[in-house]
């Protein structure tokens, strides 16, 4: 079992991460990977992700430990960009390896929901040359509620 959690201030290459991660976990049944990118369109020119060094990475590490315990993973890779990014650039990558597909898929889903709604990142978008803060979205909190029943 290996948990790798990183904050990156330069572009990442998801394809280059997934092969070695998969190969590092022989005996696994499945690997689920989610890569989130800066969306183009809608006039957004750039996205800036701010964090609080003292709390953001420790919070992600605690989340990775919770996911590992809850889903019984064989490996978990959690990478998140900070800084200014442009449409098409990867922002976040979560990859979970497990004996069974259900654990791998659910772990990625769980980590993404918690990264979006609970991790210490603040975002702003540049439109027409001006930066605008992105406000929290109600459906991000709603997504968390899915994980709160004892069975879920």
């Amino acid at each position: 079992m290996a948990i790798t959690v990183r904050l990156l201030d330069a572009p990442m290459n998801p394809g280059a991460m997934i092969g070695p991660f998969t190969n590092a976990h022989p005996g696994l049944g499945g690997v689920c990977t989610f890569v989130g990118e800066v969306r183009g369109g809608e006039g957004a020119e750039a996205l800036e992700l701010l964090h609080y060094a003292r709390m953001t990475l420790p919070g992600m590490e605690a989340l990775a430990e919770r996911a590992n315990t809850r889903f019984g993973l064989m490996g978990l890779l959690m990478l998140h960009r900070t800084g200014v990014m442009y449409p098409g650039e990867p922002v976040v990558l979560v990859s979970a390896a497990a004996l069974h597909r259900r654990a791998a898929i659910d772990a990625v889903d769980f980590c993404m929901d918690h990264l979006k709604a609970e991790s210490w990142f603040w975002k702003r978008e540049q439109r027409g040359g001006e930066w605008h803060w992105i406000e929290p979205r109600a459906d991000d909190y709603a997504a968390l509620a899915r994980w709160q029943s004892p069975q879920a």
Binding site: G36, R54, K116
Partner: protein, 80 residues
């Protein structure tokens, strides 16, 4: 000796800087007294959390920061 205030997200725009030093020690009434009105109300808002040296306060009015501490103001995180 001082306490370092750290303003995250859009609170940094409101404060005009990401950090600010104030005299130590610092409790909740002293904090409010040290802030200009716009920032004061933003930090008093229910959705703004406070962390001292990286640890969130359950009740921010219980703030007690000693000299050398870092007090961070965390507005709601932005979903994706």
């Amino acid at each position: 000796m001082t306490v370092t205030l750290v303003f995250l997200g859009k609170l940094a725009d409101l404060a005009g800087a990401a950090e600010r030093e104030v005299s130590a020690p610092l409790d909740w009434p002293q904090l409010l007294a040290a802030l200009e009105p716009g920032l004061q109300s933003a930090i008093a808002a229910d959705t703004t959390r406070i962390a001292v040296d990286g640890v969130l306060l359950a009740d921010k009015t219980a703030l007690h920061a000693a000299a050398g501490s870092e007090v961070a103001f965390l507005p709601p995180v932005s979903g994706g």
